[in-house]
Amino acid sequence: MAVLDVLLYPDPRLKQASKPVDIFDAALRDFVADLQETMLSGPPSVGIAAPQTGRLERIVLVDVSGKLKTPHHGFMTLINPEIISSDGSVLGREGCLSVPDYTGNVYRAERIALTAKDEFGLTRNYNFTGFEARAVQHEMDHLDGLLFLDRLVSRRDRFRRKVYKAPAH
């Protein structure tokens, strides 16, 4: 296993779309292991996408188990992930391994249903909510050459939506 270099914006590879994986072999699983080691060795992170290491293939890893109190699926390898359905819209603050020292507010779907392959090519279906859904959407954006910087909303935006919600008394 090896720790891979994480690309930092403005590296142009972060803005490119990644290709689907079609061969699920030992070399793929070796890469997934390297990607996991990279994720674990850097700053605390709930996910990583293959293109962040310069490999432009549709592979993301997500693990929010370090964040307590949130329901989660533990460590997941999501290959060629596709969102089947989504609903809700929530604002949350995001940062990125590829964009150090900056966080910003981004809207994400509150719930998503997703299908993906695992590292053996088996199809798996998931339902994600909340923080985990956010992490998955953040990682999947990398596969389309998008960063959270592409989705930033102004500080004022949050109140315009929140004002219609009853305050929690």
């Binding site: 700053p43 605390p44 992170s45 709930v46 996910g47 990583i48 997500v62 964040k67 949350g92 603050r93 995001e94 940062g95 990125c96 391994l97 020292d101 900056y102 966080t103 923080f131 956010r134 992490a135 953040h138 990682e139 500080r155 004022r156 949050r158 109140f159 929140k162 004002v163 919600k165 305050p167 929690a168 008394h169």
Partner: protein
């Protein structure tokens, strides 16, 4: 060595203020840092970190032509500037209610006592002109924990007739 300055500009809002001010700074060999700019009650206001090779006086006189042209008042302070040291907020609070004098002092006083360090705050006046509502939204750090702030907001709701909500911010790095 270059020095950081905080420049503030205030003037009647019109198109092109930011473009002309920042062009003048660029031509004066300045480098920009973090900035906050907003239209407040028809005025355009700028707070801008600027790194300049020149003195405070040189910067002031360099800004005079563009300030006069754009109808802006300008103020320059030498500051200790530091980039790449963002403080991350862990709480977001909004408070609103029927407008009256003293809301901001009441709210921020109670929250400061409960340990809130404010990182950013904006307020607005909305509602009908005859029946205005005052709105505060802020991000900050709960230095004594979120529970303390929650308690402070409960008291504000009860005793000051305000609506208030608190959201903890759990930043996601991925």
């Amino acid at each position: 060595m270059d020095q950081w300055y905080m420049l503030t500009f205030v003037g009647k809002d019109r198109t092109g203020i930011v473009a002309n001010v920042t062009r003048a700074l660029f031509e004066g060999k300045c480098n920009l840092g973090e900035a906050s700019m907003a239209r407040l009650g028809g005025n355009f206001t700028i707070m801008l970190m600027v790194r300049s090779p020149g003195s405070l006086e040189e910067l002031e006189s360099m800004m005079t032509p563009v300030a006069e042209k754009e109808g802006l008042r300008v103020h320059v302070d030498a500051i200790e500037g530091e980039l790449h040291h963002h403080e991350e907020p862990d709480v977001r609070i909004s408070v609103y209610g029927a407008d009256r004098a003293g809301i901001v002092a009441d709210v921020t006083g109670a929250l400061a006592e409960a340990g809130l360090n404010i990182l950013s705050l904006e307020t607005d006046v909305g509602g009908a002109p005859a029946d205005p509502i005052y709105i505060i939204y802020l991000d900050g750090i709960a230095t004594l924990g979120i529970e303390k702030l929650d308690q402070a907001l409960k008291t504000l709701r009860k005793e000051k007739n305000l609506d208030a909500s608190l959201t903890s911010i759990e930043p996601l790095t991925a």
